[in-house]
């Protein structure tokens, strides 16, 4: 039996084992492979038993109580607009109005690299990036730009335009490098003491009230940054997986000359996102 076939068969048996069936019940259906399957399933059954640890009732109750106190408003997510200084909001609005009334800019938004309007699109992106002051939002926007470059490469691959694909590949690479650099500049904190739940970290009885309040505010701010970074990391991880899948799907259908350029795109994507993930640690 081919290895792949056996891997599939083993997986079917493991799925049944994990859903509560015994080793014998799993094997019953595949008598010809029983000799090979039995020792593996017996071991799998042992792993399953060893890892079937239930949280204690005490912990369950404590955890639920602590979570409820977090849900009941100790944490309130402020909207993006209220986080920004007023002048940034005002200038963003002016910029927004300008964008609204500028037909060329609007038309350029969906333009592709071979279009004469594409230069305006790139310029608008650069202005928007400069206008974004919040480091987390900057990362989000930069990752959106990287996604755009992938869409453009897919479009160009479909058109068979290798020259513009190579140009866009370079822009994609630059955007991923910029992303990794931006992530590295987000301030990091290391305030979670192992073994101490968050609710117990709010105050130290030996310190003065003012110091305690200040420290609590600082810690809350640091925690917010950590939380935002966690969200960003998860979102970029998704981007990495999806962009890689998009490129691979495109490679599968592409003619040889396009395939070669797309393989470079794939390589840029894998290396670039790996560096981005590293920037989080």
């Amino acid at each position: 039996m081919a290895n792949k076939e056996f891997e599939n068969l083993l997986d079917v048996c493991l799925e049944r084992l994990l859903s509560g069936e015994s080793v014998e019940q799993c094997i019953e259906q595949f008598p010809e492979q029983a000799r090979e399957l039995r020792p593996l399933l017996e071991l799998a059954s042992m792993i399953k038993a060893t890892s079937a640890i239930q949280p204690s009732q005490e912990f369950r109750a404590k955890a639920r109580f602590e979570l409820q106190s977090v849900l009941k408003g100790k944490y309130k997510d402020r909207s993006t607009l209220t986080k920004m200084p007023r002048w940034v909001t005002v200038s963003s609005l002016i910029m927004g109005l300008l964008l609204l009334f500028s037909g060329a800019i609007i038309t350029s938004a969906n333009s592709m690299p071979e279009s004469p309007l594409y230069a305006i699109k790139l310029l608008t992106e650069r202005v928007n990036l400069t206008m974004t002051l919040d480091s987390v939002q900057k990362v989000q926007y930069q990752s959106e730009l990287a996604d755009r470059r992938i869409s453009e490469i897919v479009y160009l691959a479909d058109k068979g335009n290798t020259e513009f694909m190579e140009l866009t590949n370079r822009r994609f690479e630059e955007q991923l490098t910029a992303l990794a650099l931006l992530i590295a500049t987000i301030p990091s904190s290391d305030i979670n003491v192992p073994g101490q739940p968050l609710s117990m970290m709010a105050a130290e009885p030996s310190e003065g009230a003012a110091n305690v309040t200040e420290r609590a505010i600082d810690e809350e701010a640091e925690r917010d940054i950590e939380v935002e970074k966690t969200g960003l990391e998860a979102s970029l991880q998704q981007d990495a997986i999806e962009n890689e899948a998009t490129i691979r799907a495109c490679i599968a259908d592409a003619p040889l000359n396009i395939k070669e350029v797309l393989l470079t795109t794939l390589n840029i994507s894998i290396t670039g996102y790996a560096e981005i993930m590293q920037a989080f640690s």
Binding site: N3, P39, I47, I53, G231, A234, I241
Partner: protein
Amino acid sequence: MQEEESLIYRIQKGDNEAFNQIYESYFDRIYRYIVFKTGNRNDAEDLTQQVFIKAFKAIPKYRWKGLPLSAWLFRIAHNQIVDYLRKETKRSTLRLNEVMATSNSNPVTTVERNFDAQSLNMAVKQLTKAQQQVLSLRFAGEMSILEVAKVMGKKPGAIKALQHSAIVSLRKKLSVVKY
């Protein structure tokens, strides 16, 4: 998946009950996964708490892209474990055998289980990182092959191959540990 998308939408609109549903669905699985990876039941309790608090705070920024929520939650748990292990390298920790001892009242069964758990724990540590990750997500996290593939950013076929090689390799290592 559609149900998860609507739950996320509700949480982002401020519906805490929707987050409670996610919490109840994933609490045990996340806890078991952390115990499997850290071997320390007490610290796993704190880490489990932190995973859900982080998830709750990060969910307003969550962008739905068709990936299961489990992939995102286990990713947060994985990051918490990596941070924890980095800090814990110099500290001695209770291992799975002690974990099992506290959860079984029959002394004979406890000794047998402890032996199995200890051997298993030692053997698992000798596997590659990817093999360890597949076993922990599959058995402790109770994830399907597809979900594991999403978390690890690999294809389902590659996960099945890793799962197979992990069990085969674990069996060989256990025979060395036992005899």
